[in-house]
Each structure stands twice: as structure tokens, then as C-alpha cells.
Symmetry: C2
Subunit: 344 residues, 2 copies
């Protein structure tokens, strides 16, 4: 017997996008918001009392739950706060899945789902999004947990809420709707929580609220599901400063909305520019674009050589595409100018 | 089939110590350090750049690892940083244990171990510390993971490093030495990491460094074990501010040592005072005391009524004891004065 479980020995592990230390690069590879968080966040951090450093934080992050309730129109018993959205994903796998209880999700999607399935040693049923019957195929999988990333990464597209509702209705297990990118979308699935007792919505403060560095996400579901998930989370899974900062961020809806509007406007401008250069770019309801170009691998390398980092996966369905985070106007202009040089 | 796994349905969940919102109480129930963290921590937090809020943090918390290496004299490949010590415990259960791979630990001890075993659906072999053959009993359990909390909570006692080394040598699985309280002890087990390839040391910034609110812990082990644990942790499990603050804290060894010395000095004074009142108090190598008193449950309630919160567990071996965190001089004086009133 080795020290590690066999599924862990086998595992490659999730590889996060490259985080260059150099500030002088254009970093549009991990879907961070190009703009800083609300000034209220900085105020909360700078005014933070050392008394709350030495003490354990609120186990359930009540300050944040209270503020989020008002914004979302749900009860505090409907919210679980987590150490980034990834923590909620991990909690759900540990709560619902094991060797006898599978997970199902449409692909291509966030590659962490597959890693978490291997970690939990549960079978992953992967249904190609393109299938005509993808909804029925997900239902037929009879999984304990079904995940749909919506809007989806890396495709940037969104499935209509009614269709997701139909899926929730047909499933016998839990439906986790990963809405990490929903702040940039035209609709969301929050209203399904009231209607279906098996729906969990995942939200993140990393993208729309510019707080990827802070690790703060949350789940929204009926109170019974939330109570079960609370048993699985670490006792103090979010820290005191993150609670204070995330609370300040979600309270400042005016800043949030203007930040999101700026990203969406740049997204549409960048899409047009990339299309002019001959790249095929799908509609995006996220803060990134998926651009199709036959020689994507080479293009990725040439951009990296010039200090511009985008995301490239060398897999059968993605090797002809690049995922490009919407940057600042300056980032996007530099990308377009550099692409022009490379492609000419 | 219910939504949750059966082991999760059954689970009561870990109950953290009471966190009163009122600042006007004496809170000596969850082993927090009574003194604030190093002023360098506040500097790091107040000077934190918003640029590092919008970006993802260092996946491996390299700044902290670099600083910790210098203090501990190990390589950065020997350190994994975690969202509090609890995160490392969770990672170890997920890495080593499952239905076919047990965990073993001496009891009474940190009650989270049992909860994590239930969450991972692995059998827990619990060996009473009092047993003459507790070491052999742990070895005979042939567990994939053996945990020893050292110094132990809630008993405040420590097993000698040589004895732990003997245990590591005999075990076929991994030995996790939970040193969350070791900053207040007379010796530690760090030197066992070089000698035994199955030893993982858990350390916490919550106690000696006064950073319970920040959630920062770390593990030290040989590079191969660390690499395996890295595959299990969440990609970005510690946040950017926590990394900056914990790095500042561990760099300020002068402040740390003076803080720990103050706690130890108060601990000995409080022990003497409690003994004068007729409580039986064991030797402590932690920042808390375990005090024996026949009517502990009643005493706990009377103290709480007077705004003094200590920890009480109504279990067979602990119902005649109170666990009392060493507070400030003022906290400890108030406890002693109040006890005098109650007991007279």
C-alpha cells in the first residue's frame, strides 16, 4: 500500500493558468477583471481592526450573508460562503459524490470538474454540449450531482434559464449551476432556487467584483441543501478580511454595475477587432472571448514571446482556439496591434 | 437515493466554540492569542495594493514559503500552505483515507478528526492516550493516516519527540503531527521530517502569531509527500492578503518570541491562581489550561452568566474539566476574581 490513495497517485492535478510575476506583461489568460475593486473594499481593508485578526472569523460569514441577501432577495439561510467558488465545488463533490454516486456535466467546460471527480474517486459522465440530446443524456446519467457551467467556460455561451429549469425538473439528483461568469450575462438562474429544491447556484466575487485575490464565492440554494453543505465545509473557511472586503464589494452595487458595463463594452469592441483580423469569435456572455484560428498553438506562443498571455489548451476540441480575457482598453489595443503584426 | 451521501446525512457536523459578538466579554474559549499580531502585519495589510486583489493569488503562496524556509531551515519544496491548519487536515484525509483506508489517533483530542473521518467515510481507530500500549495500538491499527495532536488539545500535554519518532518508524502509513500549539511548547518534531519520509508536520499561524482571523496554516514534509498533497488542495487555497500578512508575521521573529513569552508567563501565573482555588490543573505546553473540577458543567454556566466564556464538553472523560485559554492579564484576573466569588 502506497501512502496515497490510488486515485490520488494517478492524478495529474489541476494546472492553473500561468501567473507571470512581471507586471510589465499583458495578462489576459485567467479571466481576471482588468479594473480594480470598489474603493469601499480598500477602505474596509485599510480600516480593518487588528482585534479581528487575532480572533477566529465568523464561521458562517454572517456580515456577507446579510448584505448578499438584500442584493439577491433571498434569506440568509439560503447562502453558504466559500473560499472562492472552487471551495463550493469541492464541498459539493464531497457532499454528493463517491465511488457509487456519479457526477455528470456537459463538455467542453471548466477542467477542474474532472480533477475533482478523480479526487473524490467518482465516475464522471461527460456529455458533449453539441449533442442534440444533451439534456436527456444528462438526465439518463442519473448522477448524484450534475454541473452546468453557465455561462460556460471556455465557450463563453449561455443556456437559457428555462432550459436549465427543465433540466432541474427532470434530474433525480442535485443540479449545481456554476454562475462564476454570470455578472457579464443577459440573464441568470437565481429564480430557479425557489422553484426547485435540487438547485444550487454558484457565484463568485472574483470576476464581476474584481476580487480574485481574495478567494470569496458563495452558494445559493434552499435552506435544507445549504444546511447539509455547511456540515461539509471547513469550520472557518473564509477569513475575516475577506468577509469584510467582500461585504463592502457587494454593498457597492453602483460601482459593480459600472465596472461590469465597462468590461462588456470592451468585450464587444474587442470581438469586432478580432473578427476584422479573420478570427472567428462566438457570442460571449462572460468576460472573455473564445477565438477560433487554425494555427492557435503557434499564435499562442508568438503572443507569449511578445509578453501577451492568453489561454490555450492542446485538446482535440480546443486546439484551434484561444481563450482571451477582456482586458483594459490598453491591453486590448496592444493585443490587436500585436496580432496584426504577427498575422500580416 | 437522497441528495446527500449517507455519511453526510448521518453527520452532526463540527461545532466551533461560541463566538460572542459582544466585545465586552472575556472570551477565553477558543484558544485565540490575547495579544494583537506584529505591527508589521498591519503595515502589510494597510499597504496592500488593489492590483493584487483583482488578480489571482500565488497558487503555492511562494512569498510565505520563502520566508518560512529561512525560519525553519527547510526547502520551499517541503512546505504546503493551507487555509488554516484545518485545510491541511482535510487535504490529508482526502489524500490518504477512504472506505478501505482507516485513520487512527489517540483520544481525547481535537474533535475535528472524528468529523473529518465521517466526512471521508473512513473508519476511525481511536486509542485512549491512557493505555500503556497506545503506541503499539496505533501501529497495530495499520492505518493509512495516523494523527497525533502534539501538544494535544484539550489536554495541553506533549509527547516527547523521541517517542513520536519511534511511532513514525513503526508505522506503515503516514504520521501527521498536528503542532498547532507547538509555539508554546518546550520542543517540537520538525527534525523528524528529515529522518522519516512518512511524517507531516502541521503548523498554524492562528495561535503563536495571533492570526486566527486570517486562516493560514502550513504543512512540512518531504518533497514527495508535499507534491502529492499539492494535487489535492484547491488551486488558490490561500488568499493574497493572507499570504502577505502571514509572510510579514513569520518574518518578525522578535515580536513572535516576545508574544509567546508573555502568554507562557501568564499561563504559569494563571495555573498557580487556579490551583489556589482548588482546581486541579495539569502541566501545559499550549496557550490554554485544562482544569479539573467536579462540578465543571455548573461552573461553566455560572461563568457564562457573568460574561466569561471558557470551553466545556459534556463527554465522559471531559465533563469534570474546563478548558481555559490563557487571556491577557486583565482577562485572567477577572476570571480568578469571578471564580473566587462563585466558589466561595
Amino acid at each position: 500500500m502506497g501512502y496515497f490513495r490510488e486515485n490520488i497517485e494517478r492524478l495529474q492535478g489541476y494546472v492553473p493558468g500561468y501567473q507571470p510575476g512581471d507586471a510589465d506583461v499583458v495578462k489576459i489568460n485567467t479571466n481576471e477583471n482588468p479594473y480594480p475593486p470598489s474603493p469601499k473594499v480598500l477602505e474596509a481593508i485599510r480600516g480593518f481592526s487588528p482585534e479581528f485578526l487575532r480572533k477566529y472569523p465568523q464561521p458562517l460569514a454572517d456580515s456577507f450573508r446579510e448584505a448578499a441577501c438584500k442584493v439577491l432577495g433571498v434569506g440568509s439561510g439560503n447562502i453558504i460562503c466559500t473560499n472562492g467558488g472552487d471551495d463550493l465545488l469541492t464541498i459539493c463533490f464531497r457532499a454528493f459524490c463517491d465511488e457509487g454516486r456519479t457526477v455528470a456535466y456537459p463538455i467542453e467546460t471548466y477542467s477542474l470538474y474532472e480533477v475533482l471527480a478523480e479526487l473524490q474517486n467518482c465516475k464522471a459522465v461527460e456529455i458533449p454540449f453539441g449533442n442534440d440530446n444533451w439534456i436527456d443524456d444528462l438526465v439518463k446519467a442519473k448522477s448524484a450531482l450534475t454541473i452546468i457551467c453557465n455561462p460556460n467556460a471556455p465557450t463563453s455561451t449561455r443556456v437559457e434559464t428555462d432550459v436549465i429549469g427543465e433540466l432541474a425538473d427532470k434530474l433525480s439528483g442535485v443540479l449545481l449551476i456554476d454562475e462564476a461568469y454570470v455578472d457579464f450575462a443577459e440573464d441568470n438562474c437565481l429564480r430557479l432556487v425557489e422553484k426547485y429544491d435540487n438547485v444550487i447556484i454558484l457565484r463568485s466575487m472574483s470576476k464581476g467584483y474584481s476580487l480574485a485575490g481574495l478567494r470569496f464565492g458563495f452558494g445559493i440554494a434552499n435552506a435544507e441543501l445549504i444546511a447539509g453543505l455547511m456540515k461539509v465545509k471547513d469550520s472557518y473557511n473564509v477569513d475575516a478580511i475577506a468577509i469584510a472586503a467582500a461585504t463592502a464589494a457587494i454593498k457597492d452595487q453602483k460601482y459593480f454595475k459600472s465596472n461590469v458595463a465597462k468590461v462588456k463594452s470592451e468585450r464587444e469592441r474587442l470581438k469586432t477587432e478580432l473578427e476584422k483580423l479573420g478570427l472567428e469569435v462566438g457570442k460571449s456572455e462572460t468576460n472573455f472571448l473564445l477565438a477560433k484560428y487554425s494555427e492557435s498553438g503557434t499564435l499562442y506562443e508568438k503572443l507569449a514571446e511578445r509578453g501577451i498571455y492568453v489561454r490555450f489548451w492542446n485538446t482535440s476540441s480546443l486546439s484551434d482556439k484561444l481563450r482571451i480575457t477582456v482586458g483594459t482598453k490598453e491591453d486590448n489595443d496592444k493585443l490587436v496591434t500585436t496580432l496584426k503584426e504577427i498575422l500580416s
